[in-house]
């Protein structure tokens, strides 16, 4: 008896929760409204079945409860009923599958006029590449990845020279233009997912996967990684900014292309660049190349590891309560033996970078120093 009541309450509670809870799809920002429609249809169908069967069980528990003189009925087969149920279930299944596959066939067919965007995932940040004026992305290979070639573009491929590079985790897109996102990984599996766009796709190192969508409203949307990729998986967040085509063009021109990045690397020391400038630059490039920026931000945002902004010279408390001043020696130690003195509140999660040369360590320390409030020492 109590069970029947509880089953009814569960049904009522579930329906009420569905209708009145604040947790629902994020507001759609892409063309994939058909996915939302499929979701709603599926909820409706399964919801009806859920309610019906639970209420039926509740009814049966009461109506057919054990009583003094009652015996149960021995009837245990009813071919007609069974086949009817099979047919009805099959119809229900087809009713879900057919429209679902229809929408899916659109998912696998990006429109021919879609602009191309490459999203590159690595532990634990995003970067992006656009084809530039020639409309083609240059060939890539992880073997080319280096300090002045973040994306691993083949320097000998002419199509790659004008590729536009976006090295922070924020990408802009023009409103209303379909975009086909090519997905590439440098290291492990990742997944490109913007909840408001609905679509997602894993990024597999060694191959290129893709998805497509058309942004239908302006705004700034979270890009999250949706395939577990290691310790910093939860911190691998980016931003997708959808804006008017004019604003997009303006943003586009603020990004450098591959030819420039190559030139930076190959440039002979400029008379205006002091050795210290070069040291800082080297440190900055190392921070990117070695993956430091996967866990350490430079703008004060919290992440897996302490932010480098304002770090140099700071007083930090370690896990055991002792105080330490963050100086060059401490930073070097934390790079080659990260678990030696961990700042309180942070996990002992940093891998050891024991193969860095003294020069490289010096560069990193110097770069980190420049991120503190105190003016650069000259």
């Amino acid at each position: 008896m109590a069970l029947a009541i509880v089953l009814v309450l569960i049904v009522v509670g579930a329906v009420a929760f569905h209708l009145w809870s604040p947790w629902w799809f994020t507001p759609l920002a892409s063309n994939w409204g058909q996915i939302d429609m499929m979701l709603v249809v599926t909820i409706a169908l399964t919801g009806v079945v859920f309610v019906a069967i639970n209420l039926l069980i509740a009814y049966e528990i009461v109506r057919f409860r054990r009583r003094k003189k009652q015996t149960a009925s021995y009837v245990h087969e009813n071919s007609k009923l069974e086949w009817t149920l099979i047919v009805l279930t099959s119809i229900g299944v087809v009713a879900l599958l057919a429209p679902g596959l229809f929408v899916y066939s659109e998912f696998v067919s990006p429109p021919p006029n879609a602009i191309v965007l490459e999203a590159v995932g690595q532990q634990w940040q995003w970067s992006f590449r656009l084809p530039g004026a020639d409309g083609r992305l240059g060939r890539t290979n992880v073997r080319h990845i280096g300090t002045h070639n973040w994306f691993g573009i083949d320097p000998n491929d002419p199509y790659g020279q004008d590729d536009i590079l976006v090295e922070d985790s924020e990408i802009h897109l023009p409103l209303g233009v379909p975009v086909k996102v090519l997905l590439r990984s440098k290291d492990v599996l990742h997944d490109f997912y913007v909840p408001q766009f609905r679509v997602k796709m894993d990024i597999v190192p060694g191959s290129v996967s893709s998805l497509w969508f058309t942004p239908t409203r302006t705004g700034t949307f979270d890009l999250v990684c949706a395939e577990y990729c290691g310790l910093g998986h939860y911190a691998m967040n980016g931003k997708v900014v959808v804006e008017s085509p004019e604003a997009y063009q303006a943003w586009l021109s603020t990004n450098k292309d591959f030819a420039h990045e190559l030139a930076e690397g190959a440039s002979t020391p400029n008379a205006e660049k002091t050795p210290d400038d070069i040291l800082i630059e080297t440190g900055e490039h190392l921070a990117q190349a070695k993956g430091c920026l996967g866990c350490h931000t430079t703008d004060g945002r919290s992440s897996v590891g302490p932010t480098w902004k304002g770090l140099f010279g700071k007083q930090e408390t370690l896990g055991d309560g002792t105080q330490v001043t963050v100086d060059g020696a401490y930073i070097k130690e934390s790079i080659v033996d990260p678990t030696a003195k961990v700042v309180k509140g942070f996990p002992p999660a940093m891998p050891a970078f024991s193969q860095l040369t003294d020069e490289e360590l010096k560069a990193l320390v110097r770069y980190i120093q420049t991120l503190s409030d105190s003016p650069k020492d000259k």
Binding site: W23, I53, E60, R66, L183, Y193, K200, A235
Partner: protein, 580 residues
């Protein structure tokens, strides 16, 4: 070493302590060994779930939960629950205990192999637990162990932990193979006279087909595991493409991470049916018994079990819809997945139809069996979302999936197991479990799991990704979700605590429980008809039972009582026997 075969008179089993209790070849002892090991390791898995929920409900409050610890915990929680608890308990525990008894045999076909299979399982558990003590700790790659991350720096345990895990799995696979050979051979060859396949109880059918699936699916995990081991240990490139890991160029090249996923899920999907099919069988027998009514549509139920078993090998890539595999595969696997919904739905209808017109007594096993149907319904229905490829795309890798698989495996299968424990405890121990404590256990668990998992689907609709240590820096999740996470965590902890009631009940009732009659539930199946309770070595005394009827003769019109055991002879049947 050989057991005395029965020719006449009592069974003379082994006499020494070691051969009687430790290296026993008696299926009942082995079943108890499997069950107690599985339950112990399951409790560990449950404690791990508390750690996970503490972090998700109260992020930043617990210093000892670092991202590293968190990811190691979710990995071991998943692996322990799916493999070392559910598979071992349902096949090694329930399968071992009930197959010989339900089919009228004295023991399994290969008792020595049976004994070995337990000790291999035990060894696999020890090796798994050893991963806590190796440098770097256990693997934190997620229970799916996907390369490249499972073997590259940046994932906890990618040094030693993953090796220990893979070794443990290989040993477990050997154990399960030995077990599977036993269960299948026994069901096919050792049934008592009159026990045709279509007279077997559905519990046996469930374990039987699950064992067949196990034998055909685990080798794929074995192959994937060995190849992953080689990639990690010798640096081969079965699965590893050229990568730059945390700034270091690694030596691998040309391998395919998707190849691992195909091998893993070719095993992984049948695995969930290895867990579900025995649960279906248990539920069917218990519902029938306590509704005093034959299971509705027995033939269809058998065919559904077989069909589900077969089709389960054609659906695996529904776990890979967004994996980056050839997108056209999505059409095929969505279709097969939704097709498998049909025999599954039939089973649900038949459980419900069994209740119709019955004489239902809501004892604790029946409460859990009905709880099984209700929670399996929710879990199964959400499978329809995830199987339909385009609907899966926004939901995969979110909390919707976590809610789905916990409901079908972690909740409904466990409910069926609880139903089984309450149902058969009297036969196994000769004592009754406390009905009061059983009800308490049921109510908190049943309401608790709904509170826990139903709202979780909505976090999935919102798009909240899974396997996240914390949700900082994302704006699409409203602050209210934090409150929901607190609610879910509290529900989880309370529901978890309620399981201790069962553990206490078990321990107490073994010694102090009310003495049980031979057949306290008046059930028809053979295991209730043994001459002794608990059954002794050899199970049946001098003579094996002879079966005259199917397993569901409850409330037969005109019968002297409301159940007819499978080996019962009506007066009309007796003269026949006298003449042979």
């Amino acid at each position: 070493m050989a057991q005395a075969a029965s020719i006449g008179g009592e069974q003379h089993g082994p006499q020494g302590f070691w051969t009687k209790y430790v290296f026993s070849q008696d299926h009942k002892i082995i079943a108890m060994q499997y069950s107690s090991t599985a339950i112990l390791v399951g409790v560990l898995g449950m404690v791990m779930s508390w750690v996970i929920r503490l972090q998700l409900g109260f992020p930043g409050q617990f210093d000892f939960i670092s991202p590293s610890t968190y990811y190691q915990t979710i990995t071991l929680h998943g692996m322990i629950m799916v493999v070392y608890l559910l598979t071992a308990l349902l096949l090694g525990g329930f399968g071992n205990y009930f197959i010989p008894l339900m089919i009228g045999a004295r023991d399994m076909a290969f008792p020595y192999l049976n004994m070995l299979s337990y000790w291999f399982y035990f060894l696999s558990v020890i090796v798994l637990l050893a991963s806590f003590f190796v440098p770097g700790g256990p693997t934190g790659a997620g229970w799916t162990l996907y390369p490249p991350q499972s073997i590259t720096a940046g994932t906890p345990g990618s040094g030693m932990g993953i090796l220990v895990m893979l070794t443990s799995l290989v040993i477990f696979i050997v154990a399960t193979t030995m077990g599977g050979l036993n269960y299948i051979t026994t069901v096919l060859q050792l049934r008592a006279k009159g026990m045709t396949l279509m007279r077997m109880p559905l519990t046996v059918w469930g374990v039987f087909v699950a064992s067949i699936i196990a034998l055909l699916a685990f080798p794929a995990l074995f192959v994937g595991g060995v190849m992953l081991l080689l990639d990690r240990v010798v640096g081969s490139s079965f699965f590893m493409p050229a990568v730059v890991s945390l700034g270091q160029q690694l030596d691998y090249k040309g391998g395919s991470p998707l190849l691992f996923q195909h091998l893993f899920w070719y095993f992984g999907h049948p695995e969930v049916y290895i867990v579900a099919l025995p649960a279906f069988g248990l539920a069917s027998d218990i519902i029938s018994c306590h509704a005093r009514k034959p299971i509705f549509g027995y033939r269809m139920m058998v065919w559904a079990i077989v069909a589900i078993g077969g089709i389960s090998f054609t659906v695996w890539a529904h776990h890979m819809f967004v994996s980056g595999m050839n997108p056209y595969f999505g059409f095929f696997f969505a279709s097969t997945t939704l097709v498998i919904a049909i025999p599954t739905a039939i089973k649900v209808y038949n459980w419900v139809l069994t209740l119709w017109g019955g004489s239902i007594r809501l004892v604790t096993p029946m409460l859990f069996a009905i709880g099984f149907v209700s929670t399996f319904l929710v879990g199964g229905l959400t499978g329809l979302f995830l199987g339909n490829v385009v609907v899966d795309i926004p939901l995969t890798d979110t909390y919707f999936v976590i809610a789905h698989f916990h409901l079908v495996m972690g909740v409904s299968a466990i409910m069926a197991i609880f139903a089984g424990i309450y149902q058969w405890f009297p036969k196994i121990t000769g004592r009754m479990l406390s009905e009061g404590l059983g009800r308490l256990h049921f109510w908190v668990t049943f309401i608790g799991v709904y509170a826990l998992f139903f709202p979780m689907h909505y976090l999935g609709f919102l798009g909240v990704p899974r396997r996240y240590f914390a949700y900082e820096g994302v704006n699409f999740i409203p602050p209210s979700a934090a409150g929901l996470n607190v609610f879910i965590s509290v529900a989880a902890l309370v529901t978890g605590a309620a399981q201790l009631v069962l553990l206490f009940n078990l321990a107490w009732s073994v010694f102090k429980g009310k003495k049980a009659e031979d057949n306290p539930w008046q059930a028809t199946t053979l295991e209730w008809q043994t001459p002794h309770t608990p059954p002794r070595h050899g199970n049946w005394g001098a003579e094996l039972p002879v079966v005259n009827r199917w397993a569901y003769d409850y409330s037969v019109p005109g019968a002297p009582q409301d159940y007819l055991p499978q080996n019962y002879e009506t007066p009309a049947e007796q003269p026949q026997r006298a003449s042979t």
